[in-house]
Symmetry: C2
Subunit: 772 residues, 2 copies
């Protein structure tokens, strides 16, 4: 790991703060200071306009444009889709003395920008000195309400320090925005603007090819607004007015915007317009302060429920809180039609699409913080089952083949070597189903939606897999595993294990349902058209699955022939060669034993109980030095496993990358958006890593370790109706059922009952890392 | 092989003839009736215009347009290039009674179209009955001179059967042509037209991005031409005139066109215009008859030198002559800047680019028919050595990496999985060098150009290859062999053998030159910057090369893990599934033991002396049923090997496909152009197959067989200054040195000296196939 921290933000346990404007890092800050509420998100851009480096970004969950893809070969995608930079509902212009405020050109001092994680409000202030010498202090606040997803709120406070006079303010709704990733194109057509009730303005825009609509209705409250005038230009409507300022007195302008989307291209625009106006009208009575209080209250609840506290490591304390904050901003299960994009709602990069990160990294976070949100993530996949079945058919297969990445359930990945070879993504969905049910015990979901997904995914693997002609093994030829540095391999170990597990989960669920829910089983079997012999076929295939292991060392072979692949000393790759995708010829990446990210090792995390410590040690020792960590998800997984193996120094080194990946711009690409799903890995890093939690057994288990720098750390998990508090210090791990019934868990391998009174288990030798 | 003949053309030993117009097959006929002369080629379209299915095509060797390619990954091509439909120099319109001749709409009878292989002239005639009842017999002739590549000649003869009057004729040069394969786009810009000396017309057109130019100058000779008028439209110039017709008397219009190209975008257009006019002027004295006589004389020479005669098989007699004819039309070594495209000069399909077919299939044809042409094919590769070295660097390698396909020497293949994984194409060039020198003994070429290519290609393989970490083998990971149904495999046997051979040929040549040509060796070593230790490195890598063979059976494993790959019964694939690329999902092709075309078996053909008959039999028995023959080059190779193994029925079945692939439209895609390089395979099928010739030993060897249907067959090969005639009948094989010194060859394994008097060797038992 030759990546280094690029720090310029204050270290503070609760606030992300930039003191003095760092123009050279403006786009990094825009990502870091993003606010969102699952329904929508905006980058931390300067709403008044900025003439320097900037990527304006206003995103809506699930809103996309689509494009045809020119592909010759049968079964390759013919259409892709991607998130777009939508309506800028914060558009503002401020002028004084005929000079327009623009921090790239104007004189200013005292710049502070701060995102308060406790309240979820982004603030910015500075003093602007005009060419004529007038000094105006400006304070901006913004938030997107976590209580009412449609609500975006902006406040500007003007404090004239050495004059009285008028400041000219313009506030508008702008659909003439461009997408940086797509050649600075604008994707809106049929933009309608007009007046809304109570002096508001409204804008409705249609995305050209997808036909989806976005609507925004704004109203402003400016104390002494003078001469307001509505004006419009192409794909834009706004209001211009003056605010009279009295020297030494603060004047305020508030804007409350109600945003809505219509994802169904078939709904007439007139109806969308009407319901957008109605939505705004319903919120006509909501004032800024009221909205802010509700929003801050939401965050207070969040932190009360699931704060992670680290004593003795302020940097990473901040990092983990920032991660939790961003995850909640991105998704908290408000709508089962939403999902988590790799970069959340902070960028157009990675196309705003959902990957298998959702089931592998994000789902566990929600499972233990917000089980309803976890359920909604799975219901999202259930709702996309028809698309997954259609995709399987396009590939001459049966069952459900979930896409590599998607917004609407169809395959968005036009890079076929990923989109089509990474067949393991369907198993990740099955894993999500199993993991959710194992943790929550939600058999209702399993017997209704879950079983249908399991049946269709099993059917997919049964049809995609093949029999080896000499050994008679069952397996998967021409695939790509999670390690994307080996393309078109045969029998990727992770894929084979996951498919085998999928068969087993399915068969086990069927057995269970035969007894416990025969009617629901019949319903599911009828819905998927289960054929006689299919279950037996899957049983045979599961038991014949090729999973190769070196008998002497216990190391699993990542894929056929991997052990004999040419060796590369990853540690000797010069730091300047990273990212490898940019510096190495494409074809050079795929012919070594170097891997991009954990592959076999994921199994030791997901199915911890299946492997003994000796096996984990052997596999970690073999694969860790072969890993280039080209994926931002890699360090967290390595850290978790290193903790388990007592490799404290390694564990902590990887953890730092995971916890402050974006705050310190480790990957030098935070300007392209936050690594939102990696933030879930950061949370896993605390809870599964240092907390030593495992959730693949019959009960939760804990085996914490304490890094040398930490005095203590604490976290909470929601588990079967209880809030389980875990506190770890050098002497002991303390567990308390803060609310709910007593909980049976394993601690350091022994079953314990945790009650409201709590239990304390002494830290065993070697579990507390020594400094140095 | 579930492909069937679609016959509609006459079977005739010397003429390809269509009786009655087959409108439903018009585009097939256009391909079959193509004429060309290496410099240029035109499809057999109706020059007077045709309102039915047609693909107008006028091509110039090496003339291309280029286009940017949008590729994210480093080292993937950023630009591609392709042949275009260029200036239509045959553009003609004919009107009578105000009715324009168009065989899609007019009444006509007596249609005959014939390509005479003896003279290389395409003729067409029919009687047109106008709506007013006038009957006009028209005869068209055209050829592109094999003696003077710039010359294209057209003749139209009008014979009014029941009237006297005037026919209106328009003849023009048209650069407003479109490319069917590229969305019917026209690629010309800056078209200049004007008058040429002697009443001629001239047109110069520039290809938009490549900047290449094509120029055509025409003159017409029409006996009683009345009221000629020059007219122009966009990218077009022409002349309109009347021809007075007397009932029962033939009137003639001749057109002679001089075409030239300028491939260097840097040459000013004014200079191209001047030299185009000068070229035309130099041919001002050449009349139609004179040009035709020279052209026909060329063909007479060809047939005298290298006719293949088959007694008892008229269909395939025609097929093989048609193949030889088309090969010569496409290429005969007139210019080392030219090469052979997969579809010759008969189509835009396959982009007019040159593949490794040139060295593997075409080179042997020219080696034994026209050694200078063979040498020119290698000089073409030598001239593209800088581009091959640049391409290697782009791929983080050293040495020379020849492109998958190309016109100008850069990689034209934008499908990276082929363009970048098929690293065997460089070895095909090395094989060409070695094969050429082995047959011709041309050490001058070897010690000057050949050695430099060998050094750079060896260097490429040394840098591209890797060491297996367990076994210590040297080999190539993440490649694709000739069998394109296995992508990203490791240690493709063919590739590894070819690279090993390349190392060995290089080392052997260096050894030989140390003794025989030390100064030239120093020159070559200096030019390529040979480093100390490189030769030793190549020796080590050659000797450690992984070439896996089943010890029990002797079957070579096509690539790592192939023997255990899932098995597919190719013979059970329904005929309607072909071509598989169209009917199977892309990802489904790559995960079986099914192969697209011979891979390991190529080695048994190229290096026949390295393998004993038992080994050949075992490998053929293993691989032949696994081959889908999705490549048109596949049947010929299988036929050749089947002959050697005494599998007469198989050999003949495959041969029929090879010999009449286009005449009978076996692959149902002849309308997209002729399979020109497969025609070379058809020739190999006679000479290497039934003739049993092998050219990889110290001397030529022959071991003929006679198919059951054949009474006898005969062919000639040029070999070391002699013309060796081979005649095979049921009793004996007769060899004669028709000209030149006596030749030492092996016949049925025994060395013989062939003199002008000839020798006769009795056919051994089993060499004459029995009917049934």
């Amino acid at each position: 790991m030759s990546k280094v921290a690029q720090r310029y933000l204050d270290v503070d346990p609760w606030v992300v703060r930039e003191r003095g404007f760092h123009a050279g890092r403006s786009r990094i800050s825009e990502s870091v200071f993003s606010v969102g509420n699952e329904f929508m998100g905006v980058r931390g851009c300067f709403e008044e306009g900025y003439g320097g480096q900037t990527t304006l970004g206003s995103y809506f969950n699930g809103l996309f444009e689509e494009e045809p893809v020119d592909n010759f070969f049968k079964g390759l995608v013919r259409r892709t889709h991607f998130i777009i930079n939508a309506v800028d509902w914060l558009h503002t212009r401020i002028a004084l003395d005929g000079e327009t405020l623009n921090l790239a050109r104007c004189r200013f001092h005292g710049f502070v920008r701060a995102l308060d994680l406790r309240t979820g409000v982004l603030c910015r202030e500075f003093v602007w000195t005009t060419r004529r010498g007038r000094k105006l202090k400006l304070s901006f606040e913004r938030f997107t309400s976590m209580r009412d997803g449609h609500l975006g709120c902006q406040r500007i406070v003007f404090m004239p320090l050495n004059f009285s006079g008028a400041v000219r303010v313009e506030m508008g709704l702008n659909a003439a925005t461009v997408c940086e990733l797509h050649g600075r194109r604008n994707f809106f057509s049929d933009v309608k603007t007009g007046a809304a009730a109570g002096g508001g303005l409204a804008l409705l825009a249609r995305i050209e090819r997808s036909g989806q609509r976005v609507m925004a209705v704004m109203r402003t409250e400016a104390a002494p607004a003078v001469a307001p005038r509505t004006f419009a230009s192409e794909k834009f409507i706004g209001r211009r007015f003056d605010v009279r300022l009295q020297r030494g007195q603060a004047s305020r302008v508030d804007r409350i915007v109600t945003c809505s989307v219509e994802k169904d291209a078939g709904v007439p625009s007139a109806r969308v317009w009407r319901s957008g106006l109605a939505l705004a009208k319903a919120r006509a009575g909501t004032g800024w302060e009221q909205a802010r209080a509700a929003h801050a209250g939401y965050w207070q609840d969040v932190w009360n429920k699931l704060d992670v506290r680290i004593e003795g490591d302020p940097e990473n304390q901040q990092g983990i809180r920032f991660s939790i904050f961003q995850l909640h901003q991105t998704y908290h299960g408000a709508d089962p039609g939403n999902n988590v994009a790799a970069k959340g709602l902070t960028s157009e990069s990675y196309w705003g699409v959902t990957w298998w990160d959702t089931e592998t990294y994000c789902l566990p976070f929600y499972l233990f913080n917000n089980p309803d949100a976890a359920r909604n993530l799975l219901l999202y996949r259930y709702s996309k089952l028809p698309q997954a079945c259609e995709r399987a058919r396009q590939k001459d297969c049966e069952g459900a083949r979930y896409p590599m990445c998607t917004i609407d359930g169809t395959e968005a990945c036009a890079t076929w070597q990923h989109g089509d070879l990474e067949i393991h993504v369907s198993a990740a969905v099955a894993y999500g189903v199993w993991h959710y049910v194992n943790v929550t015990g939600d058999k209702g979901f399993l017997h209704r939606e879950g079983i249908e997904m399991l049946l269709q995914i099993s059917r997919y693997y049964a049809s995609r897999g093949q029999w080896a002609q000499r050994t008679g093994d069952f397996g998967f030829w021409f695939v790509m595993g999670p390690d994307e540095f080996h393309m078109g391999v045969s029998n990727n170990c992770y894929t084979n294990v996951m498919a085998k597990k999928t068969f087993e989960w399915t068969l086990q669920t069927v057995r269970e349902m035969r007894r416990a829910a025969p009617a629901l089983l019949k319903t599911a079997a009828d819905r998927v058209g289960l054929r006689p012999g299919e279950l037996a076929d899957w049983r045979r295939k599961a038991s014949a699955m090729r999973i190769r292991r070196d008998r002497r060392t216990g190391v699993y072979e990542q894929h056929d022939g991997y052990f004999d692949a040419p060796h590369l000393e990853c540690s000797r790759i010069p730091a300047t060669d990273f990212p490898l995708y940019h510096h190495w010829a494409y074809f050079r990446l795929f012919r070594w034993d170097m891997i991009k990210q954990p592959d076999v090792l994921l199994l030791h995390l997901f199915f911890s109980h299946d492997y003994d410590l000796k096996n984990k040690r052997a596999n970690y020792a073999y694969y860790e030095p072969r890993c280039s960590h080209e994926s931002s998800l890699s360090p967290g997984v390595h850290s978790i496993l290193a903790v388990e193996l007592g490799l404290h120094a390694k564990a902590y080194a990887y953890w730092r990358h995971a916890a402050r990946l974006d705050l310190d711009d480790y990957n030098r690409n935070t300007h392209e958006g936050l690594h939102t799903t990696s933030m879930a890995a950061a949370w896993l890093n605390v809870v599964y890593g240092f907390g030593g939690m495992r959730s693949d057994g019959k009960m939760l288990s804990f085996a914490p370790s304490l890094p040398a720098r930490w005095r203590s750390f604490a976290f909470r998990v929601l588990y079967r109706g209880s809030v389980l508090k875990v506190n770890v210090d050098r002497r002991a791990v303390a567990l308390t059922a803060a609310s709910g019934p007593p909980v049976r868990v394993e601690v350091f391998g022994r079953p314990r009952t945790v009650t409201a009174a709590g239990i304390r288990v002494p830290m065993p030798a070697g579990r507390v890392a020594r400094a140095g």
